[in-house]
Symmetry: none
Subunit: 215 residues, 4 copies
Amino acid sequence: MSEEELLIQQLFDEEKLTDKQKKIIVAAIESFSEKGYSATSTSEIAKKAGVAEGTIFRHYKTKKDLLLSIVAPLMTKMIGPIVVNDFNKVLDRQYDRVEDFLKATIENRRELLIKLLPVIKILLQEIPFQPELRELFLEQIANKIFERVSIIIKGYQEKGELIEMPPESVARLAITSILGYLFSRYILFPHIEWDDELETERTIQFIMHGLGKKE
Amino acid sequence: MSEEELLIQQLFDEEKLTDKQKKIIVAAIESFSEKGYSATSTSEIAKKAGVAEGTIFRHYKTKKDLLLSIVAPLMTKMIGPIVVNDFNKVLDRQYDRVEDFLKATIENRRELLIKLLPVIKILLQEIPFQPELRELFLEQIANKIFERVSIIIKGYQEKGELIEMPPESVARLAITSILGYLFSRYILFPHIEWDDELETERTIQFIMHGLGKKE
Amino acid sequence: MSEEELLIQQLFDEEKLTDKQKKIIVAAIESFSEKGYSATSTSEIAKKAGVAEGTIFRHYKTKKDLLLSIVAPLMTKMIGPIVVNDFNKVLDRQYDRVEDFLKATIENRRELLIKLLPVIKILLQEIPFQPELRELFLEQIANKIFERVSIIIKGYQEKGELIEMPPESVARLAITSILGYLFSRYILFPHIEWDDELETERTIQFIMHGLGKKE
Amino acid sequence: MSEEELLIQQLFDEEKLTDKQKKIIVAAIESFSEKGYSATSTSEIAKKAGVAEGTIFRHYKTKKDLLLSIVAPLMTKMIGPIVVNDFNKVLDRQYDRVEDFLKATIENRRELLIKLLPVIKILLQEIPFQPELRELFLEQIANKIFERVSIIIKGYQEKGELIEMPPESVARLAITSILGYLFSRYILFPHIEWDDELETERTIQFIMHGLGKKE
DNA sequence: GATGAATGAGTGTTCATTCAT
DNA sequence: CATGAATGAACACTCATTCAT
C-alpha cells in the first residue's frame, strides 16, 4: 500500500489530496484495473477505501469524474516529462544511436511503467468507450508526442540511422511494439516466467532490425 | 445489416440459428463493441434486436454466456482455418520468403478481419477481465498457433531467412505488430484517412527489416 | 417411482390420466411438498416430469389448476372412504370402545397416510392462502366429517364412553392430536428415530385419558 | 397500525430501528402472513411500507434476511421469557397442579399470542421450507424448552400428577394440543364465533383428562 | 396431443447519486 | 468535511402463459 501511495503522490501530489481522497484513488485504481470501469461499483470502491459512499461524491461529482481524475494526470504528468526530459536529451545529442535512446528511455522508465501499469491498463481499456478520454489522449499524447517524436525521428533519419518512412508510421510501429511487449508480459501471460532484460533487448533489436536476417 | 448477416453466417453457420437468435447476436456484437460488455444492458440488446428480453435468456443462460457464444467461434472458426489452411501452404513451400507468406496471410484475411473487427474488439477488451475467455484464448490460440508457428519459424530460420531468436519471441513480435496496426487503424484513429495497402506494406517491411537503415 | 405411481392411481384413477399427466402430477407433488407451491416453478415441474413446458398447460389451464387437481381428490376420494367405510363400521357397532375405533382407523390408514403425506403437507400449507382450497376443504371435510363424526361421538357419549362436550370440540381435539403427531413425526423431527407403534399408542391413550394420572 | 407498532417494539426494541425499518417490518409481517413468504414480492412490501424498494435492501441484505429478522426474535425474545419466567414459577412450586400452571401460562400469554399470531403463522408456514429456520427453531425452542419442560414434567410425575410417559412425548402431546387449538381458532376457522375462555378450558381439560369419561 | 420458442410483466437485487445530519 | 440512510431507475434474470408448428 505504501508503495502505491508513493505512486499516488508522484501522480497527484500537486493538488493537495486529503487522506481519504488518496484512499479513494488507490482503491479505484485497483478495482478499475482488475474488473474494468463499468463493472466496478462506487460502493465497492468506498468499502475498499474505507470511506462512506457519500465521501466519493463529495470529491468527485460523478463516477466518470473519478475515472478522469485518475487517468488524466497520467497523461499530463507522466507523458509530459518523458517528452520533455528524455527527448531533450536526445535532441541535445546525448544519444548517438537510436538503440541507445530507446534502451535508456525504456530502462529508466521501466520501474515507473510497471508501477503505473494498472493506470495504463485503465487508460487503454477505457479509451475506446470514453470520448472525453480519447480526445484528452489525442490532445495530450498523440499530438504532443508525435510532434516531438517527429523531430527526433527526422533527426535520426537525416543521420541515416532510420529508414525513410513518414514519422507517424515510424512512431506507430515503435510504440506498438513496446506496448505489445507490455501487453503480452503483464496482461496476457503474466504467469509465465519472463527474462525482462533479455526480452526488452529483443524488442529493441526487433524495432531496429526487424526479423529478417542480415547477410 | 445484410453485410453483418453474412458475417454471422460465416461465424455461426454450423449450429442452426433461428432468426431471432441471429438478431440477438448482431445486436449484441454491435452494443458490446460500441460500449463494452459491462456497460451494455440485456434490455438494450433486446430492444435493438427487436425481441423480448426473455428471448435472450431462452437461448443464452446468462449474459456472459452470450458473450462467450459470440467470441468463442471467433477463436475456433477463424483462427483455426488460418492455422490449418494458410500455414499448410507455407509448410508445403508455397511461399519461399517470409514476406510473401505474411503478405498473403494478411491480404486474403483483410476483408474478413475488417468484418470481424467488432468481434475482435470485444475479444481484446474482455480478455483482461474474463478468466474463461483468457483460458479459452490461451488454449485455442496461444498454444495451437505457437505450436504451428514455431515449426514455420524454425523452417525459415533454417533457410536463413529469419534471425536466431526463440520462436515464441519471434511470434510475439510479429503478431503484436500486426495487432498494433489494427488497433491504431480501427480503434485509436479510425477517423484518420489511412492508405491501408501502403501501411500494411510498411508493417510487413517493419517486421522483416525493422526501422534501422541498412547501409 | 412405481410406489408413487400406485398412489397416483389410487387418487386419480377414475379420470383416465395419460402417461404424461401422471408424470406431471408426480413431479408437481414432489416439488410442491418440498419447496411449497409459490416457490415451485412450472418449468421446474416440466423438467422433473420430462415433458415440455407447454404440456402442463394443455392439461391444466393454470398453475393453480394443477394445485387444485392434486389436492382436491385427496379430499373427495380419501376422506370420503374413511367417513363412509370406517365410520359405517362404527355405526354398525363393530367397535365397542372408542380406543378400538381410533386404533383401527389409524392402523389401517397409516400406510396410506404416510404415502399421502406429501399431498397432505401441500394441503395444509396452502389452505391458509388459497380461498378456493379453504372453501373446498370446509365443504368436503369440515362439514361432512363433522356431521358424521358428531353422530359417532354422540353415540359414544350416550354409551358413557366419552365426556360431555360439544362434538365439534371433541372432534377438534382428537384430530389435532393426530395431526400434531404426524407434524412432529414427519415434518419437524423426521431425522429422529421414532417407535411409531408405541407413539401411536401413546397418542391414542392421550386422546382417551389425557395426561392426568388416575388414582 | 399503532397496535402493531407496539408489537414491533416488544419484539424488536433492543436494536434501535429507524422509522422506515419499522414500517418495513410491519408491512412484511402483514404481507408474509397474508400471502406467504414466497408469494410476497419485495416491491409489494416497499409499496405497503411507503419506502423505496432499495431501502429494504439497505437494511436487509436479502429477502430471506428480512424473513429471518422477523421470525428470529419471536423465538429468542418470546419463547425465552416463557421458559425463564413462567417455568421458574413452576419450579418454585407456585403452581401445585398442572392445570393451574397450564392455565396461567396460556392466560397471561394469550394477548401476546394473539398479537404475535401473524408472526407465529409465518414461522409455522416457513419452517418446513427454510432449513435455517428449522435449525434456529430446533436450537432455540425444541432443545431449550424440552430441557426445561422435562424437569417440570418429571416434577409433576413424581408428585403423581402426571402419568408415566417419556417427557418428550408428554411435551409433544401437550404442546401440539395447544398449537392445534390456535391453528383451528385463528387460521382454519377464524370466521366462526369462538368462546375463547371456554375453549381454552376445554383444551386444558383435554390435556389433563383426555376424552374418556371417568366413572 | 405435444412441443418449445416467444413473450413481457415481474423478480430480487444493485446502482450512482442526493441530502439531512 | 464526512457520513450513511434513502432513493427509484436500472439491472440480470425468471415467471406463468400462449401459440404456431
